[in-house]
């Protein structure tokens, strides 16, 4: 190791291999059987359970926890997958603290919810590790559906369509399927190549072909509509909001999403990171970029958000996670200018300060880029004729993996109903 956290500028290899491996290890390792039994026992098996209502995919949480508690995690996994085929990834990345666990009655009673996310992971990992795919495809329907984007929305839709016997072709512009599961998300939440393993497992349903291709350049929506009985768009948000301040185009300024994507795909020791890193933004992308910069060996990492703590789209849990990792968060300051040496910010009062920065990450939101279908950044309608849309690119719901899975699944059910002639 020739570099250290103190090395000025942007440098790779700031930490030893061992430190790097420890930093990017699974953040919340799977429960062992005993831990799962203890955690499962805390569930009260509520009537019309609030957790289930809070889950965008409406997983029957009390039932799957009871199945774990009675020694049948495989049955629990089937309960989960029946509602959410990416229940494995959602168990890792869902902000459960603002969904199921936030409304758990034991959170109300004791400030300590049943650990639903980790129990879900215990169940799904148990079944997936056995290589079992618990669904069987219906007889071929003869109908063909195109799905654009192999992210959570597209794959969820594709799986449900394939389940109903339809022939599905998924077009993906990136080298690997998985979307943000593969190219977004902090590495320590999807350790051991889980995103890719999950896709392989999901495809065991059969009837799904993944082809390279980007909408707009390689393929046209009109051609897809002409060649298929239905089209599903799950293309995510390809663009990033522009930062229009002096110095925003300097070479040490980078989009956080690109940094995160590169980090997911490369040897982390080889990934250069600044000594003093400044992240502009207050969402999950900002947190993931900031925390991972720290884990790569940056000496100081500061997240600066222009509004107040409670307005931040990253949850309090995520903010705590960031500060625990050594990230400093400054609230209520907007960026004014970037120089090769640092970033100038101003509070609402007009007071200014400068943070030294070898590297600056922009994480101020993503936009839909799909001319001419998407105009002015507006999101897509969930259905327009024989074209459905879901996930981050579609209107409605939060930009969460679990929401994308739900929308993909629901679109597939609608498409199926249309294709089998049940509805128009």
């Amino acid at each position: 190791m020739t570099q250290s956290p103190m090395t000025p500028g942007i440098a790779a290899n700031r930490l030893s291999q061992a430190e790097m491996a420890a930093n990017f290890a699974d953040i919340a390792p799977r429960f062992d059987r005993h831990e799962a039994m203890v955690a499962a026992d805390r569930c009260y098996f509520c009537h019309d359970a609030p957790c289930m209502t809070a889950c965008p995919t409406s997983i029957d949480i009390p039932l799957f926890i009871r199945q774990i508690a009675t020694g049948t995690p495989e049955a629990a996994a089937k309960t989960i997958f029946a509602q959410n085929i990416m229940g494995g990834m959602c168990a890792r990345v869902c902000p459960t603290e603002t969904l199921c666990e936030e409304v758990c009655v034991r959170e109300v009673a004791e400030g300590k919810p049943v650990e639903i996310g980790r129990l879900q992971r215990f169940a799904t990992d148990t079944l997936m590790d056995k290589g079992i795919h618990p669904f069987t495809r219906a007889a071929p329907s003869g109908k063909r559906v195109a799905v654009v984007g192999a992210g959570p929305a597209g794959l969820s839709c594709a799986h449900r369509l394939a389940l109903h016997g339809h022939e599905v072709t998924v077009f993906e512009r990136r080298p690997k399927p998985g979307g943000l599961n593969e190219y977004g998300i902090a590495a320590y939440k999807s350790a051991d190549d889980f995103a890719a393993r999950e896709v392989d497992w999901l495809l065991k349903i059969g009837g799904i072909t993944i082809r390279p291709g980007a909408l707009g350049s390689d393929i046209s929506l009109a051609a897809l509509e002409a060649d298929h009985d239905a089209v599903f768009l799950g293309i995510g948000l390809g663009g990033v909001n522009a930062l229009t301040i002096p110095g925003a185009d300097l070479p040490h300024v980078r989009n956080a999403v690109d940094f995160i994507a590169e980090l997911r795909q490369c040897d982390k020791s080889a990934l250069p990171v600044g000594r003093d890193v400044v992240v502009i933004g207050g969402g999950m992308t900002a947190v993931d970029a900031a925390v991972q910069s720290k884990l790569l060996g940056a000496q100081t990492v500061t997240m600066v958000y222009r509004r107040t703590k409670d307005k931040m789209s990253a949850s309090l849990y995520e903010q705590d996670h960031a500060t625990a990792a050594g990230v400093k968060i400054i609230y209520g300051a907007a960026p004014k200018a970037i120089t090769p040496a640092g970033v100038e910010f101003a509070y609402e009062t007009g007071e200014t300060f400068v943070l030294p920065a070898d590297q600056v990450f922009k994480a101020i939101g993503q936009t839909l880029t799909l001319p001419p279908i998407a105009k002015d950044g507006a999101k897509l309608a969930r259905r327009s004729g024989k074209v459905w849309a879901g996930g981050d690119c579609a209107a409605g719901g939060e930009d969460l993996t679990v929401t994308a899975v739900a929308q993909g699944r629901d679109a597939a059910e609608e498409i199926n109903a249309v294709l089998v002639g049940a509805v128009g």
Binding site: M37, V38, D41, Y44, C46, H47, D48, P50, V105
Partner: protein
């Protein structure tokens, strides 16, 4: 701090907490550890006749049932009486009793059902200076197949006969330990009383199979693919034991017969309940086997706090609930309560709703924002909601005052009246 000193049929101990005859009292090492921890007395694990030592299985002796949190609720065993040579036990008993004069030490006995056997064993223990004997007429497994234990306890005539022999050949206080594996506990208790027993102790364990191994298809505890019934004990049997103790305590022929209460005593509260229903002291086994001897310290402090708070002496507690243990026909049918849910304590789990709606009287309403309220016009006060609620005191039963109208029946709450005078009672109508 309340005085917990106990005098049970003349046997004194610093507190009313004894260890029951069982594995924890099999040898000097365990018994001394128990005394060091604070136990008031022990009943030494059952001795048999002189001869080749008893043989135990070398596979699992215990089976169990657990709550979902794996808290042990019931234990079952197929262990027999002591498998150590008689003289070893006698020597250790003598040594321990001399060393621990202030503690109770009672010897449990089980020998074949003939006069010579009993006469002989009583002579053998005479020299130990033990405080008394307990006749094991209770163990339901193993020894019963050889005509001992519960095989004796299930025949009142045998109980009376053996008790007489014991009183005839020994000066020691005699406790007769009863088996619950009978249809009524009263004939065995009456028989012990007639035979001259100084006290009865109950319950011994209940014939049981705790579970079935679903791979080997054998009852458990499983010995080489086979299982035999064991004796069941622990918190799960407490309700059965309480009822049997109370039946003896109130029965006209056994009223006043001292009772040593046994069966799932786990905390001071359990002990106090047994004593309130007539037990002069309690014996504990499963709780000690689950948590170790130290639990007696909680029992001592808890009972002491309780007695102080109630300004009661220990003797005031014994039997205090017995007059309130009545037959169903004596219950007040004009006592009307309604469930009340405290919205401040409610955590909105909805278990009361599910239980009432699915399995009871549809007497709980649920609002869209998960507020649960009782419908008095439907509530029969069954108490199921109280029993399934995870929050203690969140749901309580509130008595309707006399003179008010029960919205369910439309009837005014009146004075005490029971089934014996109820117009729907055919026996009343016939008069």
């Amino acid at each position: 701090m309340a005085n917990l000193t106990s005098n049970f049929i003349g046997i004194k101990s610093p507190n009313p907490f004894w260890l029951a005859s069982a594995p924890p009292t099999d040898k000097a090492y365990n018994v001394e550890r128990a005394y060091e921890a604070g136990w008031g007395g022990v009943v030494w694990k059952t001795l048999g006749s002189e001869g080749p030592p008893i043989v135990n299985v070398s596979g699992p002796r215990y089976g169990a049932i657990w709550g979902a949190d794996r808290r042990l609720l019931g234990l079952n065993n197929i262990e027999l009486i002591t498998d150590r040579p008689l003289q070893v036990n006698l020597d250790e008993i003598k040594m321990v009793k001399r060393k621990w004069r202030d503690r109770a030490l009672v010897i449990s006995l089980m020998v074949p059902c003939d006069e010579e056997s009993w006469k002989d064993i009583l002579a053998r223990i005479e020299d130990t200076e033990a405080d008394g004997v307990e006749l094991n007429f209770g163990c339901p497994h193993g020894m019963a197949e050889r005509g001992m234990g519960s095989a004796v306890g299930q025949v009142p005539e045998y109980i009376e006969m053996v008790t007489r022999w014991v009183k005839q050949y020994s000066r020691m206080p005699c406790i007769v330990k009863l088996t619950p594996n009978i249809t009524s506990i009263l004939p065995p208790a009456v028989a012990a009383n007639r035979g001259g027993a100084d006290a009865v102790s109950l319950i011994n364990t209940i014939k049981s199979i705790t579970n079935v191994d679903l791979d080997a298809f054998s009852p458990f505890p499983m010995i080489d693919g086979k299982g035999s019934h064991g004796g069941y004990c622990g918190p799960a049997v407490k309700p059965i034991a309480l009822n049997m103790v109370a039946e003896i305590a109130r029965h006209r022929e056994t009223r006043g017969l001292p009772i040593s209460g046994i069966g799932g005593v786990t905390t001071w509260r359990d002990a106090a309940e047994f004593m309130a229903l007539g037990a002069g002291n309690v014996q504990v086994c499963t709780a000690a086997m689950t948590y170790g001897f130290k639990i007696v310290q909680e029992m001592i402090s808890g009972l002491s706090e309780y007695l102080d708070a109630k300004d009661m002496a220990l003797s005031d507690l014994i039997g205090r609930a017995v007059p309130n243990f009545v037959e169903w026909q004596d219950l007040n049918l004009n006592y009307v309560t309604k469930a009340r849910i405290d919205p401040d304590l409610c955590i909105s789990c909805g278990r009361c709703f599910a239980a009432c709606e699915d399995t009871s009287h549809q007497a709980i309403a649920m609002s869209p924002d998960r507020v649960f309220t009782v419908k008095d016009e439907e509530c029969v006060a069954c108490n199921l909601c109280v029993d399934v609620c995870p929050v203690e005191q969140c749901i309580t039963m509130v008595e309707l005052p006399k003179g008010s109208v029960d919205p369910r029946t439309g009837r005014t709450v009146g004075d005490y009246a029971n089934w014996t005078t109820h117009p729907n009672n055919p026996a009343v109508a016939a008069e």
